[in-house]
Symmetry: C2
Subunit: 325 residues, 2 copies
């Protein structure tokens, strides 16, 4: 039987990452090109189409051997309608039926998935979760994103807006989040908010080595907090511990909702390594119940920046299998 | 084609409710008999078997017309293994393979589901949720139970212990729950805990009309809180408002996790009527995000005390359809 392939596209506000993969998640080509979002809808669609072609060309694979395209795009979007709805950093794609546009451009069946779901599918298909059937992924970056695989399937929900795990409320009446809720896990455990929290505490007069950065006119970053906490700075340690504890609290909530075998942590913040993972595991054990030992394993993602394109290709393979494009 | 039937059994610590239903959820017979849990494992299994036979006899249906039995039992249990594990108020059923025991006793294919999941399936199949495909149910009784239907299927999770929605953490570091966690929604919004909370506030010296009940040696009940809150008692109103607000907080979390079309409230506390429902809806609107209007409708369950047996029969019909007994 002839070998066939799928193309995965990880669509971002700055770059389009694309690659061609076989059914066993082997990457046959992989590259990144500018999205050129300022040049408008048609240009961005053309760039995605060109990236698909280049993914085939670089791998030396003919269009006839490609059985599907998967696109991971910023949301909100509708997988069912193939529609990008209101992607913050891709304003030209607002209400664009991207699935049909790419199918028309390439002549290849296409599936559309939100980027966080696609990355979770990548880790499930070919990364940290490839031995399990039920996982929850938290992506710890500027915000906190999420993806849920339940019984081997992506959990999308009625409004196709499920697994927005950054907006689980862990502290009723707590810090205001950018989404207008109070006490979201994102408001404590995202790189953006933990730095803001440290700035606020310094502004309140608390002593900290972080003050030197602020006095020098720098914007505090999560890396500064990690560095200062490791060096024993008390304020930084408090902020970091709180970030880990609130994340563990959200994991306890997910343990009781979708009851996964595995929780995968991904995103830029996992660069903190064991300084993050050990604390999250410790707090999870402290915070979870004693009724059952239904504890998920907590591990880091393994696909790094490729999770998006691998997952997008994986979504195309899955659509081929289920018929749900 | 001959009409066929399923028997639903709602197994409780005190009574076994059983009934015979057709594929359209019409109840052909229905009754309740004592569980007789003190008489041991064999007696309880015999009583379930006898209840199945009586359900057929009362409906005038022959065993050959019955295509399945569904049993809703207190958990934790394993649907996949047909095993009751450690049901608090049914100690004689600890680690009992109830599915095979009932199949042997009756000669009819049997499926086993935890009682909260079965009740949620009942509302989905024949009650408040029969027009939707994605719902979340909170059962507000002594504790807070839960059930989730996602994409038309029960969400069970890897450890088959999902949808334990009472143990969603809404207040990090908050009130201790019977499960050993702190800040569970159950610790604020269950009938048991909201009465305890009122007692604690009175013991702390707060003025309240509830003190008369306590001084009279009565144990406070949720009904007392509702009555006093309606009459304008400030302490009772605070406890009731908090119970509604924390429940709404857990609903916001579920909005972002399984993203349902409908949230169903069930259990003894819904007797409070609009005094509960209006507040939960109001707090939900106050607490939820402004990014998307993916708001679930929030409604009361409609099947009352029959939800368990209807849902158990519905689980049998579903098992017949999917082959997943």
């Amino acid at each position: 039987m002839a070998v066939s392939y799928c193309v995965g596209v990880d669509l971002g506000g700055t770059n389009i990452k694309a690659g061609l993969l076989d059914a066993d998640a082997n990457i046959k080509s992989k590259f990144s090109v500018p999205t050129e979002v300022d040049l408008g809808t048609e240009k961005v669609i053309g760039n995605i189409g060109a990236a698909v072609k280049r993914a085939m060309d670089e791998a030396g694979v003919a269009s006839s051997e490609v059985v599907g395209i998967g696109i991971g795009s910023p949301g909100p979007l509708s997988h069912n309608r193939g529609l990008v709805i209101n992607p913050g950093n891709l304003p030209c794609l607002q209400n664009v039926p991207l699935r049909s546009a790419i199918e028309k451009h390439t002549g290849i069946k296409t599936t559309l998935e939100n980027d966080a779901n696609a990355a979770a599918w990548g880790e499930f298909w070919a990364g940290a979760g490839k031995e399990v059937n039920d996982l929850v992924m938290f992506t710890l970056g500027t915000g906190v994103g999420g993806g849920v695989i339940s019984g081997g399937k992506l959990l999308r929900g009625f409004y196709e807006n499920g697994a927005e795990l950054g907006h689980i409320i862990v502290q009723s009446g707590g810090r205001r989040c950018s989404c207008d809720q109070h006490g979201c896990v994102e408001a404590y455990s995202s790189a953006y908010y933990l730095a803001r929290r440290a700035e606020e505490l310094v502004a309140d007069g608390r002593q900290s080595s972080l003050k030197a950065h602020i006095d020098a006119g720098e914007m505090l970053m999560a890396e500064h907090i990690v560095e200062a906490a490791k060096a024993g700075d008390e304020l930084a340690r408090q902020v970091w511990d709180d970030a880990c504890r609130y994340l563990a609290t959200a994991i306890v909530t997910m343990q009781h909702v979708t009851n996964p075998e595995l929780v995968v942590l991904a995103g830029g913040m996992i660069a903190a390594g064991d300084f993050l993972l050990d604390r999250v595991r410790k707090y999870f054990r402290e915070l979870t119940w004693s009724l059952m030992e239904d504890f998920p394993d907590i591990r880091f993602a393994t696909l790094g920046n490729d999770a998006g394109l691998i997952g997008a290709a994986g979504c195309a393979w899955q659509a081929l299998k289920t018929g749900d494009w």
